[in-house]
């Protein structure tokens, strides 16, 4: 019995004696997911950054086209160049709107999930600690029982009652430890299940919103180009 206790202590300091493979698998999955989500988040940040740069450059080009239009003598060409500048300004606004969409749809979503995963990892750690506490209680109970047995042989009735009381106390603690562990395990299973369904749902919602913003942008662009074409054709 002593040997088994020693073994348990060893396992505790190295790793938990996982009786449920589900937890080990999930933990590994979440490690992987964490890495993937961080990569995605970085990709989106890069996208947002470049789009901001495009907005700045578009505005700058619009200004230069406007100045060119102002200095142009040929009336129709001057007008066309000024319209060109206006189209580019409008396109710049579209870029800014898209930056907003990229950021608030994707960047925030991914950021939230990265934070969520960190919290999930924390909860897994918490379960490990709970298990540890339970094991501690079991070991302590074992010791108390051994102490009682010794007292029985040593025939010290006065200390015996105290030992029996302590055994009862630790039996209670062992039961509580086991209940706590099972409760946290159940909670995790439920929360993980919900997380995985929500994750899919959240992404679906974001994709639809993103596509709506993309379609809207393109439709605006079509309007701008259709308005500009007659201006270009009118140059005589």
């Amino acid at each position: 019995m002593v040997n088994k206790a020693a073994e348990a202590v060893n396992k505790m300091t190295i790793k938990m004696n996982e009786s449920d493979a589900w937890f080990e698998e999930k933990q590994q999955q979440f490690e992987n997911l964490d890495v993937q989500l961080r990569k995605l988040h970085a990709s989106v940040e890069s996208l947002v950054c470049h789009r901001k740069e495009l907005s700045v450059n578009t505005a700058s080009f619009a200004k230069s086209a406007a100045m060119l239009g102002n200095s142009e003598d040929h009336t129709a060409l001057s007008r066309a160049l000024s319209q060109l500048a206006e189209v580019e300004e409008k396109i710049d606004q579209l870029h800014q709107d898209q930056v907003y969409a990229d950021f608030y749809l994707f960047s925030e979503l991914l950021g939230d999930y990265v934070r969520l995963l960190t919290a999930v990892k924390g909860v897994f750690d918490q379960r490990m600690k709970t298990w540890g506490k339970w094991q501690d209680a079991q070991m302590m109970l074992q010791r108390k029982r051994e102490a009682e047995a010794k007292l029985q042989y040593a025939n010290k009735p006065d200390k015996l009652q105290q030992a029996k009381d302590e055994i009862k106390e630790w039996e209670g603690k062992v039961q509580q430890g086991e209940r706590d562990f099972e409760q946290i395990s159940k909670n995790i299973r439920r929360e993980v299940g919900r997380f995985e369904k929500d994750r899919v749902k959240d992404f679906k919602v974001v994709i639809v919103k993103y596509l709506e913003s993309l379609v809207h942008t393109q439709q605006q662009l079509i309007k701008y180009w259709e308005a500009f074409l007659p201006e270009a054709k009118a140059i005589a």
Partner: protein
């Protein structure tokens, strides 16, 4: 007009000149130039390198017996392309600008093609024998180094540059010089700004590519929920790929139409600037000679007056050719820019329509899939 220039007419149709192919061997680019002979339907194909184009340009500059040659606005030759030096930081890249960005040198070839067409449609330059030889002789002009064009701006001394702001005697020319100074600078800036836009669009396309790839890597089949998440990631990956392709198209449209057009306009304004500068130098020369004549002692006066008359004649000839050239330039540049603007708008409009259609399809599909 001397008879010699009337005989040497171009033997091919100017509008049929095309650069149809390009081969690259290290830093040397060889261009295949085709054109149609005017007599009959025979086609000609010749192979030329940049050195040959340069030779042609120098030949045009150094023609003899062309009255008022210095008043001509010479079609600008694009700078030389050195493929091995084409990374973003080099001066070579900055010089080429738009022409360096096209896929497989498309824009560069187009610019060289324009150059040849502009020379071939120029009422005076089309008669230059060197042009005909360039277009039809199977042998390349070779490594001949004729005398360097007298109009090589780079070789002009710094003091000469001060002449640029010398006040003109003719309002028409003073106005044109002012206008040219302003437009040349502004069109150069506009070209550079558009180049920045195109490069950023290309960077954005790359970033979309990375995002799309990262989404692909999120696929795993561990359990039902993981499979569901994977499907969502793959769908998004497809969408981001479409966004990437859109940016690539938009950038390419900008490059091959408006970019090319602004680049051409910018270089043509520089060519006009060089012509105006040559005339201004002639003006300065004339005024210097006049002053000299006034101060001349009686015994030298006749000679000086004869010399002054000759310089004056040349100056007036140059000015009259210049006036024609300026008027021709004004009308043709408007037409050229108009065509580029129309092309640009039509291509961007088509791209936007295609893209809108594609995104709408994706949206429809997603709404259907996700409403379950």
């Amino acid at each position: 007009m001397e008879g010699s220039s009337a005989e040497a007419a171009l033997s091919v149709s100017a509008n049929s000149i095309r650069i149809t192919d390009l081969t690259q061997d290290g830093d040397v680019l060889t261009f295949a130039i085709t054109s149609q002979k005017l007599n009959g339907s025979a086609g000609v194909c010749v192979f030329r390198t940049y050195e040959d184009f340069d030779w042609l340009q120098q030949s045009l500059f150094s023609q003899e017996n062309v009255p008022g040659l210095q008043g001509i606005i010479f079609p600008p030759l694009p700078p030389k392309a050195l493929p091995s030096q084409l990374n973003m930081q080099t001066k070579a890249f900055k010089q080429l600008g738009f022409l360096a960005l096209g896929q497989d040198w498309q824009s560069y070839c187009k610019a060289l093609e324009f150059y040849l067409q502009q020379v071939a449609t120029h009422p005076t330059l089309c008669k230059c024998k060197a042009l005909d030889g360039f277009l039809i002789n199977s042998e390349s002009p070779g490594k001949q180094r004729g005398r360097k064009g007298i109009f090589n701006r780079l070789s002009q001394a710094v003091e000469e540059m001060r002449k640029e702001s010398h006040k003109d005697v003719d309002n028409f020319f003073q106005n044109e010089r002012n206008r040219n100074t302003s437009i040349a600078a502004l069109s150069k800036v506009a070209t550079e700004k558009l180049l920045d836009v195109v490069m950023t669009e290309q960077k954005l396309a790359l970033a979309c590519g990375h995002f799309s790839t990262s989404l692909h890597l999120c696929v795993n089949q561990d359990d039902a929920d993981a499979v569901a998440f994977s499907k969502v990631c793959l769908k998004l990956s497809d969408i981001i790929e479409a966004v990437k392709r859109n940016y690539e198209k938009v950038a390419n449209n900008n490059l091959t139409t408006l970019g090319l057009g602004l680049d051409l306009e910018s270089r043509y304004q520089e060519a006009e600037k060089e012509m105006l500068f040559r005339r201004t130098c002639k003006l300065v020369e004339l005024e210097t000679v006049k002053k000299g004549t006034e101060k001349a002692k009686a015994n030298k006066r006749e000679v000086m007056e004869a010399f002054q008359k000759a310089v004056e004649k040349e100056f007036n000839l140059t000015s009259s050719v210049a006036k024609q050239e300026i008027e021709r330039f004004h009308s043709s540049r408007v037409n050229v820019l108009k065509n580029f603007l129309i092309d640009w708008c039509e291509q961007q409009l088509n791209t936007a329509k295609e893209c809108a259609e594609l995104y709408s399809q994706h949206l429809e599909a997603c709404r259907n899939m996700y409403s379950e």
